[in-house]
Symmetry: C2
Subunit: 154 residues, 2 copies
């Protein structure tokens, strides 16, 4: 469909994090206890109503420092080339980042979260509630990832 050839997004906020450069960011947010702040632009603050009741949120953001991509990539976990869509590499055709972060605090339009691995200044695109019956699955097999990460849940 021609109308969807190029899709335009506008950020709804900015992520403030301890990671100024990619080399400082953890490979996966759940390995980190670091604290970040999500600043929603004021115009969207009302959309956070009652978010305090949620312990975890799905944060979608723009990999603003990631230019280009390869369809086969090496990851920090082994020396094998993996299909890009079986990895969480930030270098993707659609540079969309996704992390389930722990919500620690909210003050008006500012959310304090733990476990978000986005770089400082990252444009925020969306926040969704993390809900177990929707987002967790049973009997998961994770291909080449199996055994590469700890089994404990974060």
């Amino acid at each position: 469909m021609e109308k969807t050839r190029s899709l335009k997004l506008k950020p709804i906020g900015t992520i403030h994090s301890p990671y100024k450069h990619r080399r400082e960011a953890p490979y996966q947010g759940n390995r980190s206890e670091d604290i970040s702040q999500i600043e929603l632009f004021k115009e969207f603050e009302e959309g956070l109503k009652d978010i305090e009741g949620f312990s975890h949120i799905i944060v979608i953001y723009w990999f603003h420092e990631s230019q280009g991509y390869s369809l086969l990539v090496k990851t920090p976990w082994d020396d094998t080339l993996h299909g890009l869509f079986t990895t969480r590499s930030p270098y993707r055709p659609s540079p969309l980042g996704l992390t389930v972060a722990e919500l620690i605090d909210r003050q008006k339009n500012i959310l304090t979260v733990k476990g978000l691995d986005a770089l400082d200044g990252t444009p925020l695109l969306d926040i969704k509630p993390y809900v177990v019956p929707i987002d967790e699955k049973a009997g998961v097999k994770a291909g080449w990832f199996e055994g590469k990460l700890g089994k404990s849940r974060g």
Copy 2:
């Protein structure tokens, strides 16, 4: 940052589903046993290498039929107004859809999945592997969602 004021995305494929109109789509994909097909554009096929080893994938797509949004919304689950970012409403400032779908089969650039609630013709933006230590969390509290959905996983 001015450079991130408007962000452009290009779809990497198209979702083919049984849902021709929004009224036919389930509220949440995990409630459905319906089968959809994800057609990755041929140029991205190499990025699917070894995806067969994964039982579940995170599918990110564009809510192409959703225009506009409200910051306070009613959901199918109750009669209360909820903050938009505590809901999975398709009407969002960044119209990004997210579903964890079960991967049933792959034939070249076509993935057959179960539990994807996207409309037929939905532009595909990204596929990420669903990995338990990264994407599942312990001690989840889901605010107003609590008790609204079944507790069973799947």
